[in-house]
């Protein structure tokens, strides 16, 4: 199930942009031909409407996935997205299987190899189902059409009389034949141009909690993650990286490391000094024995206090306007009664359960990579995905570079970076044989691309009815896009001339609460701390800030926080829908057990609307979150159980950050190193979570990220309701 099939000829796909070739017309679906004897394989092309994390939304046509029906009846869907727990290796095949009228028990998947035929391959921005919704359904429908046609021809009846279900075609007289049996005949037919999709009312699989295709492997220890992948004979390497951000190796002495039994080689690479050994323990001991003189560089004196001072100064003095409605200045000066608040959020590490790792093998001008990556393939102009980055690092061509995607032991945005792939491929180019670079937990935590720290000042004035007359928000942070822009964005200068970054301000610049005078400014601050996409990106801080501040305004206006939000969201039916659904589920306004209080928050992100209520008590000065209610409107629901699981997951992730998450910088380096000082929420602290699905509309929104943003403000709003203490600096529990 894991490894991409070598036998599939991806080059046979006709690209939409190619001139029409004989046998291939300019249509969305192309028949790849008969593989391994008798079978039908369809290549799929689809329009990538937007690329997660990328500012570009140029619609380009790229072929993107395969559907294969083998003569043994197996229906294999090539999944060109990464499975990091979010269920994509189930939900995408589910879309195909629905329109195909397949039997779920016969459906399996493979991770697609990194190849241009699949276009841009990146998993992020909660877009996998959203972007696959039409094209993968069309893939299934097209294959079904061909199978039905093949049955009709065999029986000599009109295709309209053939019915399909459970991977079988049925004739009116009751005769039936399996898809497996029809696959070879169907493969001989022309691929139709347009095939109608099912009426959603006829869905039998979409909307059902069909079993995940990955849980058995993951319950029996058989699932292959990056750390398990690649040739058995691979040597293990660990890299000593500069402890200070931006630092370099000045000189090093390998002797002591080489004297460690099992250590084979010590190699200088771009990221540091690599110790190649027979196993992890030897590599680690070898690395400990290295003598390295570092050039710490200019960041050596940097610490939190200075970072937040810079952020504050920038927010107050250097902001550029990113939203301006009405006349905030006049509105603010016309009232004495102002509500002011300052919020501060720390850097956060991703801490995926599986530490970073990557295996690479360079031989005969070819590079093979086994990587738990969220980003397999991208044009060079965008900086490249794992394939392009590995090729460059190993000094071979991208055409001679293969990337095998493994299961990911968590991603959360960390594995959209390609640093760990670059490192392994570069090293593999310098040593004999395959090599697996494994990061210790400490390496992983101290060499992450962190959720940016941010600083926010908000000021509002209220009308006589308590509604905000003016809303003024000044924010400062580092920019993720600015770091990525030079490589990801063609012509970065144009887009960033104004030093704006929608991924930093999303959720705040477009906050939905009604007010006649709204202004937001954003100051982009350059600091040497590497920053990156962290589950729900800008919403991780803007969700907290906006939902805390609106709560402050509600209390200042003497109004119920739920009713206050409702009144200001009257033009936002989907926000209202989930607010009402969560309030109903939680019984908002009813009596809460003694010593507890509730807080509420609602955030739209990645096309989905999520409202959460948290019920909190204080136990020896620490908050304890007992229960969480969550309502999500993600448009249409493909797999309810997966959506629920993603909400629970996002809530635990966000709660972990709200309670404990903080990466501190001292002397230009990260203070935290492992789970003892960067704690994770554990079973005994996990709240009971009740998820209500409140779908609307017919296009799916994301579910991987949107559960995360509302939980922090729901909890701090509850703490305020309980204690009168307003928490404006995260994390809540500070060391």
């Amino acid at each position: 199930m894991m490894a991409p099939t070598e036998g599939v000829s991806v080059t046979a796909i006709s690209r939409e942009s190619d001139p029409p070739r004989r046998g291939f017309s300019r249509r969305s679906f192309v028949k790849i031909g008969v593989v391994t004897g008798a079978g039908l394989t369809l290549g799929v092309t689809w329009k990538v409407m937007s690329n997660p994390g990328l500012p570009s939304s140029d619609a380009t046509l790229v072929p993107n996935a395969f559907l294969r029906i083998d003569a043994d009846g197996t229906i294999t869907v090539m999944v060109p997205r990464s499975e990091m727990g979010q269920g994509v290796s189930t939900a995408l095949p589910q879309l195909v299987a629905e329109e195909l009228d397949a039997a779920w028990g016969q459906v399996s998947f493979e991770f697609a190899p990194a190849h241009d035929a699949f276009g841009m391959m990146v998993t992020g921005g909660s877009t996998s189902v959203k972007e696959s919704w039409l094209p993968l359904r069309q893939a299934g429908a097209t294959a079904r059409w061909m199978l039905r046609e093949a049955a009709a021809q065999r029986w000599g009846i009109p295709a309209a009389e053939v019915e399909t279900r459970d991977a079988r075609a049925f004739a009116p007289d009751g005769a039936s034949v399996t898809y497996a049996d029809l696959a070879a005949e169907a493969a001989l037919l022309d691929v139709p141009d347009e095939v109608p999709l099912k009426d959603p009312a006829d869905f039998r699989l979409i909307g059902q909690s069909v079993p995940r295709l990955d849980v058995e492997a993951k319950s029996t220890g058989q699932a292959v993650f990056g750390i398990d992948a690649g040739p058995n004979e691979a040597r293990i390497a660990m890299v000593a990286r500069p402890p200070v951000f931006g630092g370099k190796v000045r000189s090093f002495r390998p002797d002591a490391a080489l004297a460690v039994p099992g250590v084979r080689e010590v190699v200088l690479i771009q990221s540091g000094v690599a110790v190649v050994a027979d196993g992890y323990i030897a590599a680690k001991a070898g690395r400990d024995a290295l003598v390295i003189e570092w050039d710490d560089g200019p960041a050596a004196g940097l610490n939190d206090a200075e970072i937040f001072a810079q952020l504050r100064d920038a927010a107050q003095n250097n902001g550029r306007t990113v939203r301006d409605e009405g006349d905030v200045e006049t509105a603010l000066s016309s009232s004495e009664a102002k509500v002011r608040a300052t919020y501060q959020l720390p850097y956060l590490a991703h801490a995926t359960m599986e530490p970073m790792n990557c295996t690479a093998w360079v031989r005969d001008g070819r590079c093979t990579v086994w990587a738990p990556t969220q980003f397999q393939n991208a044009p060079a102009i965008l900086g490249g995905g794992a394939r392009q980055v590995a090729a460059k690092a190993a000094g071979v061509s991208a055409d001679n570079t293969e990337v095998h995607t493994t299961f990911l032991g968590g991603g959360f945005g960390r594995r959209a970076e390609r640093d760990f792939v670059h490192e392994a491929a570069e090293l593999a180019g310098l040593v004999e044989g395959p090599v697996k670079v494994i990061w210790s937990r400490e390496d992983d935590m101290q060499h992450d691309f962190y959720r940016p720290a941010s600083y926010h000042e908000l000021t509002a004035t209220l009308n006589a009815d308590g509604s905000p007359d003016a809303w003024h928000h000044q924010m400062a942070s580092q920019s993720i896009l600015q770091r990525l822009a030079p490589s990801w964005v063609p012509g970065p200068a144009a887009r960033f001339a104004g030093r704006r970054d929608p991924t930093s301000t999303e959720g705040a610049s477009d906050q939905p609460y009604r007010s006649p005078n709204v202004q937001m400014t954003y100051a982009m601050v350059d600091l040497p701390i590497p920053v990156g996409f962290w589950r729900s990106v800008g919403h991780t801080h803007t969700g907290f800030v906006v939902e805390s501040f609106i709560d402050e305004l509600a209390h200042a206006a003497g109004r119920d926080p739920y009713e206050y939000r409702r009144a200001l969201l009257s033009e936002h039916p989907r926000h209202l829908g989930v607010l009402d659904a969560v309030a109903a589920a939680a019984g908002w306004g009813s009596t809460v057990p003694d010593g507890r209080a509730r807080g509420i928050a609602v955030v739209e992100s990645f096309g989905s609307y999520v409202a959460e209520v948290a019920e909190v008590s204080m136990q020896s000065g620490r908050p304890r979150v007992h229960r969480v209610w969550c309502a999500i409107d993600c448009g249409v629901v493909v797999n309810p159980r997966i959506v629920r699981a993603q909400m629970e997951s996002g809530i635990v992730f966000g709660l972990t950050a709200a309670l404990y998450g903080e990466i501190n910088i001292q002397a230009g380096r990260v203070v935290q190193s492992n789970f003892h000082d960067y704690p994770m929420l554990r079973m005994n602290e996990a709240p009971d979570i009740e998820v209500v699905l409140a779908p609307s509309g017919d296009a799916p929104g994301g579910v991987g990220e949107p559960g995360t943003p509302p939980i922090a403000p729901a909890v701090t709003n509850a703490i305020y309701a309980l204690t009168g203490e307003r928490i404006r600096t995260l994390p809540i529990v500070r060391a």
Partner: protein, 167 residues
Amino acid sequence: MATFSVNGEARQIDVRGDHPLLWVLRESLGLHGTKFGCGIGQCGACTVLVNGRPTRSCQLTVEAVEGAEIMTIEGLTADGLHPLQEAWIEEQVPQCGYCQSGQIMSATALILGGNVPSDSEIDAAMSGNICRCGAYSAIRRAIHRAAEIQAERTGTRSGPASEGGDR
């Protein structure tokens, strides 16, 4: 030379005595189901059974397990799916899945000898296992379910698990 049994098979491995069991299992024996998460006994991803007891294999030297019986996730399926694995699949517990071998191995102690664990017993036994994907409620449900499956298999009646505790 370290000598112990793994999943019922006697093993002799030529490593230094202070080598952590985790890496012997993964690298010398190719048993990849046991995972590396932190290396300092904080996450539970490396949990295996040592003489039946859930233990962090990253914190255990091979010296310390001389002569012991080790069971890894791969060994649980010796007679088909273990009740925990069946429950894990039924409840669709795994998300990324990386922590799950460790979770299952830790949970074995909870249902040992037909025990039907309460929520607070589950909290106590499972709080050493981090799930970064936050699958905790599914894990809890699956442990309760595994106790039922075990009872069904042995033909004993299972009483409803107590929902006690301070939740």
